[in-house]
């Protein structure tokens, strides 16, 4: 079958193309490409884009004296999210909407006072959307806390001249809040999916595609060809794991750098914005997973039908979201920002590492773990900040993998709840994207649970 198909392919290509030089191929490609445009000169119908932009603009009112009011009741927020999601199937409309939403909410003549008032109003709307965890049902508390955590992060994330995209993102959060207050497991799936689809357009994390340049054959090899299940973190095995991991994702990881920087400079505001977006994305995916409300073992036994339209790219978004939201949750001393600022921007004595990070060559990047490194002090402060807050949940003397496996088994602990929630969400994404086979690749002992299998695969993935 393969030979027949390829034979036909070769015949067709040979018929289509005479033996050409590379230059001739390029010329031919250019000629063919010239035929790809619409000769009538008709442009795409962007009425949906205009409608979505108008919905966002409609939430902000400026009176004759320059006073700003922002209104994001449930109905308004829902209209904004629906209108943004309506363009999701058209690449042309998505790009046009992103361009439109990147504009500031206030016009060019706006004063600094108006901009500050707009920022305060948006923050106030976010605060109003918060959920009173004392009054929600027990089963909703976890979701309510994660949504509140995002809403708390809004103020620090806003730029000095808030854009339409930022307001649209807050509207998405308002719909998540409404879903928790008034919804149930059935509506969680729909609300969470709408939020994910909208955030992919309105946020920068939504545009980071971890799988864009993925080498599919290397990904398949990573999970299917006799990988040792030993995930001990000492030198040689860690090197092997990272050497397998890096070629798979290629150029995708440095895309995250652009979310943290402006004009190649890291800023605290960009970091706060990115963290807020990560939290929003994470809360949305976990809301979808909550809609299925089953345990990981049941998922892996194929007893659950998952049909939320999630793809393997969603796993990439979720992994980044979990990583950065977890960093921020544990970093109560806010030590990550000074470290990143030094590492990316440099200072009077140290050069900027922006270009090296973009290139993502592990051999050229400076080491931050050696005591003699100029970055060591700030890196250690960040590690200590996170470690100090993790110590209630994680004993550094304990083997890392055993710690997570025990957390899986006991979901009554704080870390147990978190780990099982993440695993459930990963399981839902993998099943929906029909990659649940990845979960079968890890060698398990007979007494190991399927949940442990998910965990082992997830740890390999990281």
């Amino acid at each position: 079958m393969k030979k027949i198909l390829f034979g036909l392919l070769v015949i067709a290509m040979v018929l289509a193309l005479t033996a050409c030089s590379q230059d001739q191929y390029e010329q031919l490609g250019e000629l063919m490409g010239n035929m790809s445009g619409n000769i009538y000169g008709i442009e795409a119908n962007l009425m949906d884009v205009e409608n979505a932009t108008n919905q966002v603009d409609g939430a902000v009112a400026v009176d004759g004296e320059g006073n700003v009011t922002v209104s994001l009741e449930a109905k308004t927020a829902q209209s904004i999210v629906s209108s943004v999601v309506s363009v999701k199937n058209s690449e042309t409309k998505i790009e046009a909407l992103k361009t439109s939403l990147s504009e500031p909410l206030l016009g060019k003549g706006a004063t600094d006072a108006s901009k500050a008032e707009l920022k305060a109003q948006i923050t106030a709307q976010a605060t109003v959307s918060k959920i009173d965890t004392a009054t929600v049902a027990e089963e909703k508390k976890e979701l309510a806390e994660s949504v509140n955590e995002v809403l708390d992060a809004v103020q620090a994330s806003l730029s000095d001249n808030p854009t339409k995209a930022e307001l649209a993102t807050v509207a998405v959060l308002a719909t998540l809040s409404d879903a928790v207050k008034n919804g149930n497991e059935e509506t969680y799936k729909e609300a969470g999916k709408a939020a994910v689809d909208a955030l992919k357009i309105t946020t920068e994390i939504g545009q980071v595609d971890l799988f864009a340049n993925i080498d599919l054959t290397k990904l398949a090899e990573m999970f299917t060809k006799g990988i040792s299940r030993d995930i001990a973190r000492d030198g040689e095995e860690e090197q092997d794991m990272l050497d397998k991991f890096m070629p798979v994702f290629g150029d995708s990881i440095p895309e995250v750098l652009d979310c943290l920087t402006e004009n190649e400079k890291f800023t605290a505001q960009r970091y706060a914005k990115f963290v807020m977006e990560c939290k929003a994305m994470r809360a949305s995916y976990e809301m979808i997973a909550k809609g299925y409300n089953i345990d990981v073992n049941a998922q892996l036994r194929g007893q659950v039908a998952v049909d939320s339209g999630l793809t393997i790219e969603d796993l990439g978004h979720y992994m980044i979201a979990v990583m950065f939201s977890a960093f921020d949750s544990y970093d109560e001393d806010d030590a990550m920002v000074p470290f990143l600022e030094l590492f990316i921007n440099g200072n009077e004595e140290l050069p900027s590492n922006y270009a090296l990070i973009k290139e993502f060559d592990r051999d050229k990047l400076p080491d931050v773990t050696e005591e003699g490194s100029p970055y060591y002090e700030k890196a250690q402060a960040a590690a200590d900040s996170m470690g100090a807050n993790m110590v209630d949940e994680y004993n550094p003397e304990e083997d890392f993998s055993e710690f997570f496996i025990n957390a899986v088994k006991d979901s009554s602990t704080i870390i147990g709840k978190k780990v099982n929630g993440v695993l459930q969400t990963i399981g839902v994404i993998l099943i929906d994207s029909e990659y649940e086979g990845l979960l079968d690749q890890v060698e398990l002992e007979e007494t190991d649970s399927a949940a442990k299998g998910t965990l082992m695969s997830f740890l390999y993935f990281l």
Partner: protein
């Protein structure tokens, strides 16, 4: 004892009921599964020409053409091959390097070439290729044709190769048509016709990009994947076409209207694998291997395919040395009329339902063609050889939801052995 046996049987039956599982149907709303044989001349002329009666295969689009131009024509067989997404590959130096290596016999270049091809398919729906093998006969006012068609669709709900799915589709169709010239004068003629097809269709559940690469790289057994490991949906439909044609000036100017793919609902069943589908019709044809998945129960479901209302005009003056032809079709008029009431309707949308084509023949031996298909250019050529015809076409069409989202190019070659003048 008897009661105990009955009890055990009842319990076993109950468990069998609990454990028996259905094969869930798979439906792809983004793919139009309507059947139409490959028409290279029609494609080269911007997919226009329903009013043009001068070829054997024209009765597939407008059965009234059987009445306009009666006579004898046969094609035994015709073979066509269409390849999509050629331009992105030709423009990519790495892809062409792998292509040259493949032609030179380096089989290691197959997987990198295929990977690059899958990357270029992008997101949403697309196609890889289409193969059509058919026989057709026109005898007086009756036409008949049998076609076997294989299509490779793709559907990517994400953005990367990792979420790409390839969906093979097979169609076997038998078409019969009748056209009558009801009014025939020197100035004016009126013909009407109908054709009906019996179509059996089977399509696979999407096969993931990584699995496709495994197949190409020889890491998976194609028989196992295609016969047993991939669910298949199979079923039939009996669609029919109606057409009328007005002819002026000895049918040198013709105006037509057609309703195509009426009654286009497919009655489908789900199967655990293609092997089980074949064995359900021809018991025991394919031996089931020991490691094949257990067959689940088939589920009945339906797949709707849209009908279209089309108008066309063709001007083909009867000349000796050169034979010019001009065609213009207004396609999918029912959808256009529905869109008049929508807020998003624009006057320019009318142009998006207009297909134009032109052909210039030389002594009826060599033909050059050009067309515009909803604003996208197409070109083609045809050569008449003794008892054979070779047609080729290249053009673009929109696969995305909105204009400019996802234009895709395709190249078609059709070779027919027979007589068709």
């Amino acid at each position: 004892m008897k009661k105990a046996i009955i009890l055990v049987l009842m319990v076993l039956a109950a468990f069998a009921f609990v454990f028996a599982a259905d094969e869930p149907p798979v439906v792809y709303d983004d793919i139009n599964f309507a059947f139409q044989p490959t028409l290279a001349r029609y494609d080269a002329m911007g997919q226009s020409g329903i009013a043009l009666p001068t070829r054997l295969d024209s009765f597939f689009t407008n059965p009234a053409n059987l009445g306009v131009k009666r006579g004898f024509a046969v094609s035994v067989p015709s073979f066509s091959f269409t390849m999509y997404n050629i331009q992105p590959m030709v423009s990519d130096p790495d892809a062409m390097e792998n292509f040259n290596a493949l032609i030179a016999g380096d089989s290691d270049a197959a997987v990198p070439f295929a990977t690059k091809y899958l990357e270029n398919l992008g997101s949403g729906r697309n196609m890889i290729s289409k193969i059509d093998i058919g026989v057709a006969l026109k005898l007086g006012v009756i036409g008949a044709g049998t076609n076997v068609q294989i299509k490779l669709h793709t559907l990517n709900e994400g953005t990367s190769v990792a979420s790409q799915n390839v969906i093979p589709e097979v169609n076997v169709a038998q078409t019969v048509g009748l056209g009558l010239k009801i009014i025939d004068t020197d100035v004016f003629s009126f013909s009407a016709g109908a054709s009906i097809s019996a179509v059996y269709k089977a399509y696979f559940k999407g096969i993931g990009g990584s699995k496709i690469l495994d197949l190409i790289g020889g890491d998976s057994d194609p028989d196992k994947v295609l016969l047993w490991d991939t669910p298949v949906m199979g079923g039939y439909a009996i669609p029919f076409n109606l057409g009328i044609t007005f002819g002026l000036f000895e049918d040198q100017l013709t105006l037509s209207a057609t309703a195509n793919n009426l009654n286009g609902k497919f009655y489908m069943k789900s199967y655990t694998g293609a092997g089980y589908l074949v064995n359900s019709y021809f018991e025991g044809t394919i031996e089931v291997p020991d490691d094949a998945p257990v067959a689940r129960d088939s589920v009945d479901f339906e797949v709707e395919t849209p009908w279209t209302l089309n108008f066309g005009a063709a001007f083909a003056p009867k000349m000796n040395a050169i034979q010019p032809v001009i065609t213009a079709d207004l396609i999918d008029m029912f959808e256009l009329i529905k869109s008049f009431n929508q807020e998003s309707f624009r006057a320019s949308d009318l142009l998006l339902h207009l297909n134009l084509g032109a052909e210039l023949g030389l002594f009826q031996i060599v033909k050059a063609r050009v067309g515009v298909n909803r604003g996208f250019l197409s070109v083609g050529a045809g050569v008449w050889l003794p008892f054979a015809e070779l047609d080729a076409s290249y053009g673009w069409q929109e696969f995305g939801e909105e204009l400019g989202d996802h234009p895709v190019d395709s190249f078609t070659v059709k070779f027919s052995i027979g007589y068709d003048k």
